[in-house]
């Protein structure tokens, strides 16, 4: 990039060709006020606070949209410009309702801070008092249009960073306002409630129901951590006041895995689930009653030791949720396979683990989960194939990456899914195979791509081609429920792509069919080989720490222990749910079981059937390690202290072990 020389306020400064005047000012420590500018977003010059005088320009120009040139002579601070800036603030203040005393953002508002800076101590202009609606239909977000200054940051964030482009301007001129989709309430729109708009809003126009009036930033502690909820592993920054979570933000929206979604940003602050805050033991009348943790630990240790000597090691089985941290998972594995000596251990997502691992092994022996690529590959892709997954709902940040790639790289998005998908308006092609025919559809597509003429005649491609020799594209595509033309169009797109990435998820994993995974890998091998790399494929895993549990090889690879408790003559079950709230995979805990221990953060149908319930902290209450779905190990930090007496999962498991070994 060519270097340019400018004069700002009489001082010689350097910049790069293509920089805006604002960027050069900021790089040189010249503080210009801004409202519509936000780091990482495109600039639009909406607020006019950064106006500067440039010699030979007839009037002041906004620095944020003015391309710097060699030799410019710029003045940023003089009496006239400062007067203009204050005037702009005064006009903004009187345009809608900016009375701070009754505003949720007071004390954390960029408009207010600027008014203080410019000593704006009165309202010179008449107020216009529009009566604008307040949209509170969304579960987490409220838009108060009366507080909006139309800077458009939310709109640009929604489009450029999140990629969903729900928000935009509606109406014209005086009636201009931010609208969702075709002017719908936010809660009924295509909004994914990621809350990025809330983070960038400079005023109190967009606020969160979970954070409102809980505390101002200056009263809070800031703690940096990582969100382990879905496995993308976004960086977070939590505001904490009096051991209460006030707000969770992204430390940098433009950073890798910095967007956040409703789960990390908002659901973490929800208190919809009743906590297990003390150990509970079932009494003689069959009711759970609170007991000191040490007593409950003793009961569990005695009972398990008794059953172990009576029925043998394999009468006790362990089930763990892959929502648990690496520390908890490791301690659980040691406890079940070591202390108890049982071979019967499973994870709630064991079926997905078995399907993926067996599928990968059939594709290439011992390839392992490292066959998968990182989520960031999506951002580089020119073609994305989403198969049986709805990332915008299950892993919203991965979904954002896909949406952004379609907009920013003009990547073609092909969806293969019998069910509805949130990507409707990003999708170039939507193939809907008949339910149960997904595998055939994938094989036909692979064959069609090979027929289009694969550039690399590697042994891998030859091997895959040989395995598909019985496929007839035309006939079999109809068998699979996809029109041959559509299928050929998809093959054409995939064939032309330089860098295609396959993302699959729940819709594939629910079939528990390793063959599907092998088919996907073959397709990935064929399409990725066009660019000459390794297969670009990512599975969106069921739980936040699935990858951690799978890398540890916790679940039995040959059978589902969980679904076959009676067949294995299991008498006692130890279930570690940690802070997982989705226990739909858990088997019926009724028949044949003499003793059930559930260790969980939350009360549920599972805890109500347990003989002993032990408390788990949530991820916000401990600092532990989690693996992202693409295999990076990330450490969380403790955001808040757990209630008195709550110990980590591994501490409790080790205590039980100690008691059992006595």
């Amino acid at each position: 990039m060519k270097e340019i020389n400018l004069t700002i306020n009489g001082k010689q400064v350097k910049g790069k060709e293509g920089d805006t005047v604002l960027e050069i000012c900021q790089a040189n420590g010249i503080d210009l006020p801004t409202l519509c500018h936000y780091k990482g977003l495109s600039d639009v010059g909406a607020c006019r606070l950064c106006v500067v005088e440039i010699e030979r320009e007839r009037r002041p120009v906004p620095a944020c949209t003015y391309q710097a040139r060699d030799g410019l002579v710029i003045h940023t601070h003089n009496e006239k410009l400062e007067r203009y800036r204050r005037l702009v603030l005064e006009l903004i203040f009187t345009e809608r309702n900016h009375l701070c005393a009754q505003c949720v953002a007071s004390g954390d508002c960029e408009l207010q801070s600027l008014a203080y800076k410019y000593q704006m101590d009165n309202a010179r202009y008449p107020y216009s008092w529009p009566s604008l609606p307040l949209d509170s239909v969304n579960d987490y977000l409220v838009i108060d249009h009366n507080r909006c200054i139309l800077c458009g940051r939310c709109i640009r964030t929604c489009d450029e960073i999140v990629g969903v482009h729900t928000l935009d301007f509606g109406y014209r001129g005086w009636k201009d306002m931010v609208v969702a989709d075709l002017n719908q309430p936010l809660g009924t729109s295509s909004c994914i409630s990621c809350g990025a708009c809330f983070q960038v809003c400079p005023t109190g126009a967009i606020f969160s129901k979970n954070s409102a009036y809980k505390g101002r930033p200056e009263e809070c502690n800031k703690v940096s951590s990582v969100c382990p909820i879905c496995g993308v592993g976004c960086k977070i920054e939590a505001l904490v006041k009096d051991n209460r979570l006030v707000r969770i933000d992204s430390p940098d929206l433009t950073d890798k895995r910095g967007i956040l979604c409703h789960k990390g940003r908002f659901a973490t602050l929800d208190r919809n689930h009743e906590r297990v805050d003390t150990a509970l033991v079932k009494n003689d009348r069959g009711k759970l009653e609170p007991r000191p943790l040490s007593e409950a630990v003793d009961i569990v240790a005695k009972k398990l030791a008794e059953l172990k000597s009576k029925y043998g090691n394999n009468s006790i089985a362990g089930i763990v949720s892959s929502q648990a941290s690496n520390e908890s998972l490791k301690a659980f594995k040691e406890f079940i396979t070591g202390t108890i000596g049982s071979e019967l251990i499973d994870t709630l997502d064991g079926d997905a683990y078995r399907a993926i691992t067996q599928g990968i092994n059939a594709y290439q022996a011992k390839a392992g989960l490292d066959t998968e690529t990182s989520i960031e590959e999506i951002l580089k892709a020119d073609c994305i194939l989403v198969v049986g997954a709805n990332p915008l709902e299950s892993h919203p940040v991965a979904g954002s990456y896909i949406a952004r790639a379609t907009k920013q790289n003009k990547a073609k998005l092909i969806v293969i899914d019998p069910s509805q998908n949130s990507f409707s308006y990003h999708t170039a092609l939507w193939l809907k195979p008949k339910a149960g025919k997904e595998s055939l559809a994938l094989n036909v597509l692979t064959k069609a791509v090979i027929n289009k003429g694969s550039k690399k005649d590697s042994t891998q491609v030859k091997k895959i081609a040989a395995s598909l020799k019985n496929i007839n594209v035309k006939q079999d595509s109809e068998q699979a429920g996809i029109g041959a033309n559509e299928l050929l169009e998809a093959a054409e797109i995939l064939g032309k792509a330089r860098h295609s990435v396959i993302v699959y998820g729940d819709g594939i994993l629910k079939h528990k069919n390793p063959g599907l995974i092998t088919s996907l890998l073959s397709l990935a091998a064929i399409t990725s080989n066009q660019g000459g790399g390794k297969p670009q494929i990512i599975s969106l895993k069921p739980k936040g720490n699935s990858r951690g549990a799978w890398d540890m090889g916790i679940a039995d690879l040959s059978q589902s222990i969980m679904k076959n408790l009676s067949g294995n003559e299991v008498k006692a079950l130890y279930i570690l749910l940690a802070d997982d709230v989705d226990i739909s995979e858990l088997p019926n805990l009724g028949k044949g079981l003499e003793f059930v221990v559930v260790q969980s953060s939350y009360l549920s149908s599972a805890t109500s059937k347990a003989n002993v319930v032990l408390p788990s902290p949530t991820w916000t209450e401990v600092g532990e390690k989690y693996s992202t779905l693409d295999g990076m190990v990330k450490s969380t930090s403790r955001l808040i202290k757990p209630a008195d007496g709550i110990k980590t999962d591994s501490e409790i498991l080790r205590e039980i072990s100690k008691h059992m070994k006595k």
Binding site: L99, A101, C103, A115, Y116, Q119, D121, N122, A123, W129
Partner: protein
């Protein structure tokens, strides 16, 4: 030296600014040595003499408030606004986005705890203005101390500036709108 004569009023407001003034604590003794308070809500004197400084808390929401404000302006050399209501309209101005009849209906008839409510309209009760105004939209104002309420320190700063013969402008770090 003759004491500086001051009159204060509270218009549409909560009295919080005057309370904040009392929060200047022991500094009030120094102020009292230099200042003579004439008509104020605290002294309960009803007439305005000619004063040096008039101080207004509150916004203008009805005809009576408008009249009092104009009378004070006519009786003072320097007029100072205290608080967000006087400077900007403040909390009282929340009603300005609505029709005033709607506001009365909501207040006297529709509130959840009201049974058989009626809007009182006896003669002599001042009529509501269509909109609540900051005082600068009614009369000329010389200086402002915003805040809801203004910090005692900001009020003291403004008074000291006036006593030193300067028109106070709050420095940025003293500015508060809440």
């Amino acid at each position: 030296m003759a004491k500086v004569k001051v009159a204060t009023v509270w218009l549409e407001s909560c009295a919080g600014c005057h309370m904040s003034f009392l929060d200047i604590d022991e500094a009030i003794i120094d102020v009292a040595n230099l200042v003579e308070f004439t008509r104020t809500p605290i002294t309960d004197i009803k007439e305005f003499p000619q004063v040096d400084v008039g101080i207004v808390e509150g916004s203008v929401g009805n005809t009576e408030e408008e009249e009092i404000l104009k009378e004070l302006r006519a009786h003072c050399k320097i007029l100072m606004a205290w608080g967000d209501c006087a400077c900007f309209g403040g909390v009282c101005a929340m009603r300005s986005s609505f029709d005033k009849e709607e506001v009365l209906r909501r207040g006297y008839i529709e509130t959840e705890s009201t049974y058989k409510g009626k809007i009182p309209r006896p003669p002599g009760v001042p009529a509501l203005l269509d909109q609540v105004k900051p005082i600068s939209h009614v009369v000329k104002v010389d200086c402002y101390v915003p805040g809801c309420p203004p910090e005692a320190g900001a009020i003291l700063y403004a008074l000291k500036e006036l006593l030193a013969g300067r028109i106070p402008v709050l420095p940025s770090e003293m500015m508060r709108f809440d």
